[in-house]
C-alpha cells in the first residue's frame, strides 16, 4: 500500500523506491545509535553475552572444582574473587553463572512478553467482552504485589530454574498486556487500518502485520526493563532456596550460601551481588536509552 503511494508521489518512477520496512528498521537503528545510553547499555550486554558463551571455556576452574585446602580464601592472584565454603573459585563460578542469569532473564521475558502482547493486542483490537475478561484477569494477576505472584507459582510448581522462568514469565504478562492494549487502542483508530479493512484484509493480518509493528517500540523498551526486573526476581527466588539448586553457580544461590559466612569470609557474598548489579544495570541503561530514543512520551 505505502509502496504504491510512494511510487505515485515519486517523480522519478523509474527508480525503485526503497523497501519501506527496511527503511523503517534503518531509521529506528539510527535513532537508537544517537542515544548514548542505548549504545553503552547495548555494548555492555553484548559483552556479557560473549562472556557467558566464551568465558566458561577460558576460566581456570570448573564451577564445581573443589580446592578443600583453600576454603573461604580471600581474593588473591590465584583466585581473583576468592573461594567459597567448598574451596570453589568464585570468579569461575560467576562466569559460569552468567549464562544462567542471562538465559533466565531472556527466556522469562520472551515467554511473558509473547503471551502479554497477544493478550494486549487482542484485547485492544476486539474490545467488548473479550477486552473486559482479559483485562480483569490482568488486574487479578496485578493484585499480587512484587515477587509474590512468582513466589506463589513456584510454591505450586516446586523449586527449579525452569519453574522460576515460568513463574517470572507469568508475573510479567500483565505489564505487556496493558501497554500493548493502550497502544493498540490508539493505532486501530488510524486511517490506514480502516483502509486495510476496506481492502478485505483478515483480522490476523491486520493485527500482526499492521498493528504489531506500530506498537513495537513500547514493547521493546518494556522488554528490556523487564529483563532487568526478571533477573532480580529470579535470583531472589534462588536466594530463597526456591530456584536453582546447589551446586549450580546461579548468582542468587551463591549469595544465599555466602550469607552464612558474612563474619568469616565477606567476599563470598560480595562478588555474586556485584555481578547481578552489573548485568541489571546494563539492561536498565539500555532500557532508559531505548525509551529516550524510541518513545519519548513514555516515562517511568
Amino acid at each position: 500500500m505505502s509502496e504504491q503511494i510512494q511510487t505515485i508521489d515519486n517523480p522519478q518512477t523509474s527508480i525503485k523506491p526503497p523497501n519501506p520496512r527496511f527503511q523503517n528498521a534503518k531509521n529506528t537503528f539510527k535513532k537508537i545509535r544517537k542515544s548514548r545510553n542505548a549504545v553503552l547499555g547495548g555494548l555492555l550486554i553484548l559483552f556479557f553475552i560473549i562472556v557467558s558463551l566464551v568465558g566458561p571455556h577460558l576460566v581456570p576452574y570448573d564451577y564445581d572444582t573443589q580446592d578443600v585446602v583453600n576454603k573461604l580464601a580471600p581474593p588473591s592472584s590465584e583466585h581473583w574473587f576468592g573461594t567459597d565454603h567448598f574451596g570453589r573459585d568464585i570468579f569461575s563460578r560467576i562466569i559460569h553463572g552468567m549464562g544462567i542469569t542471562l538465559g533466565t532473564g531472556f527466556a522469562a521475558v520472551a515467554l511473558g512478553a509473547t503471551v502479554g502482547v497477544l493478550f494486549g493486542i487482542i484485547s485492544g483490537y476486539y474490545g467488548g467482552k473479550i477486552d473486559t475478561v482479559i483485562m480483569r484477569l490482568m488486574d487479578i494477576l496485578l493484585a499480587f504485589p512484587g515477587i509474590l505472584l512468582a513466589l506463589a507459582i513456584v510454591s505450586i510448581l516446586g523449586g527449579s530454574i525452569i519453574n522460576v522462568i515460568i513463574a517470572v514469565a507469568i508475573s510479567s504478562i500483565p505489564v505487556f498486556a496493558r501497554i500493548v492494549r493502550g497502544s493498540t487502542l490508539s493505532v486501530k483508530k488510524l486511517e490506514y487500518i480502516d483502509a486495510q479493512k476496506a481492502l478485505g484484509a483478515s483480522d490476523s493480518r491486520i493485527l500482526f502485520k499492521h498493528i504489531l509493528p506500530n506498537v513495537s517500540s513500547p514493547i521493546i523498551v518494556q522488554a528490556t526493563l523487564s529483563i532487568a526486573i526478571a533477573i532480580i526476581s529470579a535470583s531472589g527466588l534462588s536466594f530463597l532456596g526456591l530456584g536453582a539448586q546447589p551446586p549450580s553457580p546461579e548468582w542468587g544461590a551463591m549469595l544465599s550460601a555466602g550469607r552464612n559466612y558474612l563474619y568469616s569470609a565477606p567476599h563470598v557474598a560480595l562478588f555474586p551481588g556485584l555481578a547481578i548489579v552489573a548485568v541489571v544495570l546494563a539492561f536498565n541503561v539500555l532500557g532508559d536509552g531505548l525509551r529516550d530514543a524510541l518513545d519519548p512520551k513514555m516515562k517511568d
Partner: protein, 318 residues
Amino acid sequence: MFKFIVRRIIQTIPVLIGVSILVFSMMHLVPGNPAVIMAGESAPEETVEAIEERLGLNDPLPVQYFSFLGNALQGDLGESIRSGRDVTAEISARFWVTVELAIYSTILSIFMGLIAGIIAATKRNTSIDTGVMILALFSLSMPNFWLGLMLIQWFAIGIDLPAWVPFFESTGWFAPSGWGNLDQVLLPVITLGTGGAAVIARMTRSSMLDVLDQDYIRTARAKGVKEKVVVYQHALKNALIPVITVTGLQFGGLLGGTVLTETVFAINGLGRLIIDSILARDFPVVQGTILVVALLFVFVNMLVDITYQFVNKRIDLE
C-alpha cells in the same frame, strides 16, 4: 467524588473474587495429591486421610471453594499443618511487623526520592543532576537482598578496613537481625526503601521538569517570585500528582519485597512466614498469607486511586 469512591470500591469486588479463586486453586494446582505432599511421601495413610478430611479435600471443588470463601470472610483461614495453630492467629501475630516495615520503608523512599528528584530537576544538566541520577540507576539495579547483606556486613558486623581508608572505623553499630528497637529497624528499612527511593526520584525529576517548562512557571518567574517559592509552592504541588501513583505502586513492590528483606534480617513477619511455609509445604498458611497480602495491596491501590482523584482536580473537572 462520593460517586467515584463507590464506583472504585465496586470495581475491586471482581478482583477480590478473582484473587480468592486463584489463591484457593493453589493447593489444587500442585502436581500430585496435596495431602500426601503436606504429610510427606512416607507418611502413613491415616495421616494423609486425616489431612484430606481436615481440609475437606474429598468434597467437590465448588463446595470446597465456597466453604473456603465463607470461612475466609469470617476470618477463618484454616489451620497450619505444621503447628496446628489457626492460620489467622499466625498471620495476626506477624501482620503489623510487615506493615510497619513496609510503611517505614515507604516513608523513607518518599523522603529520599523527593529530595533527590527535586535537587536533580532544579540542577538540571549539571554534574549534581547526573550524579543523583546515576545513583538512582544504581539503586534501582541493586537486588535488595544483596544490599541488606552488605549493610549487615558494614554496619552490623563491621569490616576490617585498611588504615588509609578515612571516613570511619566500621564496627557493629546496628543489630544484624530482629525487629523492634531502632538499631534493628534502620537497616531493613534502608534495604527495602532504597529501590523505591530511586523510582520516586526518577519520577519526581521528570515530572518536575515537565512542570518547570510550563507557562505559569515562567509567568511566576517573570513576576519576580523567589526561585524557592516557584519550585516548592508552584511547581512541586503539580509535579507531585504523578508521583502519588508511583508511590502507591511502590508500596506494593515493598510488600512483596518484605519477603526477601525479612529473610535477610531474620524478621518474623508475613514474608518470612510465607517462605517458611512454602519450604515446609504448609499450604493453608501459604494460601492465607498470600491472600492477606494481596488484599492489603488491593486496598492500598484503591486508597491511592482515591487520593489521586482528590489531589488532581483537573480530572474531576472533566
